[in-house]
């Protein structure tokens, strides 16, 4: 698949925002009394900025953003519609959480629980957008959802550590340890899916695609001279060495460098991990082999 940049930014930004909020909630749950309300107000604001930027970038993916409200209507069948509901709901919860801390309204833990549930619902919706497409075998697996959750939480916790290093230094090391652990968990889950995808065998072949049982079939024309939507949308169009380069950036950026940096320079660790996650999401798209590509193997 061709990586869609708006979607790369959307999923990485909101993932970090969700992870950050979940971390804030657990900080309040475990050490809330020792912290000022300002810590949670600032943290919620940071999460809202990420979620807002993600929401804005998602608009660039649409041909008709002015009709985006319609995308909530088919929540009974479509995970994309469910995400379209879960994202504003989660943003509202984060907003309410921040306001409750700011104005000292109380019930912050209750709002926090609602927010955490919505964050997880949102992770599942985002993951299922990809996981529910059965023809993309690389995506249609529970690991897709697991990776969205684990990598989102890892980057969010890294960001929380970076934030704490300015706003509540006494928490930095604990949060950095949590980010370290989540990133290690991410190594396990993402490398599993990388391995799975690298060894997947496609179900469909050119033989089933055109229904001719012969071992040697060669495409001679695609029905167009200058390409088509089909040749643009479903190929990343980059060389194998470029794709390998992205894979290296993924491993270094999401895992190796943040693990090395998070204890000492959490802010730099977050920046590197975020850029690494962009590479990770790019690779996530490039990995997925759409069966429609069987119809676009050559022309002469």
């Amino acid at each position: 698949m061709r990586p869609a940049f708006s979607v790369l930014f959307l999923t990485t930004l909101i993932g970090a925002g969700q992870g950050l909020f979940i971390t804030l909630f657990f900080v309040e749950l475990l050490a809330g009394s020792s912290l000022s309300a300002g810590f949670f107000v600032g943290g919620s604001f940071l999460a809202l900025v990420l979620l807002g930027l993600g929401g804005i970038s998602s608009v660039f993916h649409l041909g008709h953003p002015e009709r985006a409200w319609r995308a909530m209507t088919m929540w009974r069948t479509s995970w994309l519609a469910r995400e379209g509901i879960a994202l504003p709901a989660f943003i509202a919860a984060v907003f309410a959480y921040g306001v409750a801390h700011w104005l000292n309204l109380g019930y912050t833990l209750v709002i926090g629980v609602v927010g955490v549930v919505l964050a997880i619902v949102l992770f599942v919706c985002t993951g299922m957008i990809y996981g529910a497409i059965k023809v993309l075998k690389e995506w249609a697996h529970p690991l897709t959802i697991v990776n969205f959750i684990v990598l989102g939480c890892a980057s969010g916790t890294t960001l929380a550590a970076a934030y704490a290093s300015f706003a509540a230094p006494e928490l930095t090391i604990t949060l950095a340890q949590a980010a370290f652990a989540l990133t290690v968990l991410g190594v396990v889950t993402r490398v599993s899916s990388l391995w799975r995808n690298a060894t997947l065998r496609p179900t469909s072949t050119l033989q089933t695609a055109i229904g001719i049982r012969h071992p040697r079939i060669v495409q001679k024309s695609q029905g167009s001279m200058g390409g088509s939507y089909n040749t643009r949308e479903f190929f990343h169009g980059k060389s194998a060495s470029f794709v390998r380069g992205i894979l290296v950036m993924l491993v270094l950026g999401v895992f190796v460098l943040p693990l090395a940096l998070v204890m000492v320079l959490p802010l730099l660790a977050f920046i590197v991990q975020y850029l690494g996650l962009l590479a990770e999401r790019w690779y996530f798209f490039a990995e997925a082999q759409h069966p429609q590509n069987l119809y676009y193997q050559g022309k002469s």
Binding site: T73, Q219, P291
Partner: protein
């Protein structure tokens, strides 16, 4: 329940692209607006088409077959593209099974085209909505047309008649008989979308002729001009 569909005979298709041009012509002139063409007279001309004809070479020279393969939306009975659509713009009609896109509802998220295994949906770069074969829903029910013209444009255009159109749920329809009697099959059955469109396979047309049929007993070989062969059975004339 009705399920309208196309049945495409690969044994008959000559790869002339008449269905492609007539489909484009009909659908670009309709109420829904023109199908975009980008760089039509420049390098890399491309645009939106609902139907494409591809060509494949099967086998190794000299044992090769050239197969022309027309490809459009298969109006699946369990369409992967419909449930994923967040807006309901993509839908399958209950009354005749046609899968359509409501261009006024589509937000252009392209999600449906990811879910379709066959790559038959094309995003229109000008209108910014998803488009695909409509099974010429604006022709087949048009009562201002004479009844025999109420068929998809591509079907009417096909010079050798490789494209059949009808209800695949009616066991006596032309398309059902063709599927049944000429080995109709669906594409990528493993995708479980149950395509309504079917394809009829290439086949070698052979006639078995026995030697006694070459020298028919009731049609004397002398009249055929064949040399006299005394080993052949006697003709009717000779017997009488």
């Amino acid at each position: 329940m009705t399920q309208l569909a196309l049945v495409i005979d690969l044994n008959v298709c000559v790869g002339c692209h008449a269905c492609v041009t007539n489909c484009k012509q009909w659908n670009t002139s309709g109420a829904a607006g023109a199908l975009v063409d980008c760089n039509p007279y420049e390098q890399d001309p491309n645009g939106t088409f609902f139907n494409r004809v591809q060509t494949f070479e099967v086998g190794e020279f000299p044992q090769t077959e050239t197969v022309h393969f027309p490809k459009s939306c298969l109006h699946c009975e369990d369409p992967a593209c419909v449930p994923v659509c967040p807006t309901g713009a993509s839908y399958k009609r209950k009354e005749d099974g046609i899968v359509l896109v409501d261009y006024d509802k589509c937000i252009g998220c392209k999600y449906c085209s990811w879910a379709c295994p066959y790559g038959v949906r094309e995003f229109d770069e000008q209108r910014k909505v998803m488009t695909k074969c409509t099974l010429c829903v604006d022709r087949i029910y048009d009562e201002s047309l004479p009844e025999e013209r109420r068929k998809p444009s591509c079907v009417l255009a096909c010079p050798p008649g490789a494209r059949l159109f009808g209800d695949v749920h009616d066991p006596d329809s032309e398309v059902s008989v063709a599927i049944r009697e000429r080995g109709g099959y669906t594409l990528m059955p493993e995708a479980n979308t149950k395509p309504a469109n079917h394809y009829l396979p290439r086949r070698k047309t052979t006639v078995t002729v026995r030697s006694d049929e070459l020298y028919r007993s009731d049609n004397p070989h002398k009249i055929d001009g064949a040399p006299f062969d005394k080993n052949l059975p006697p003709t009717t004339e000779e017997l009488n």
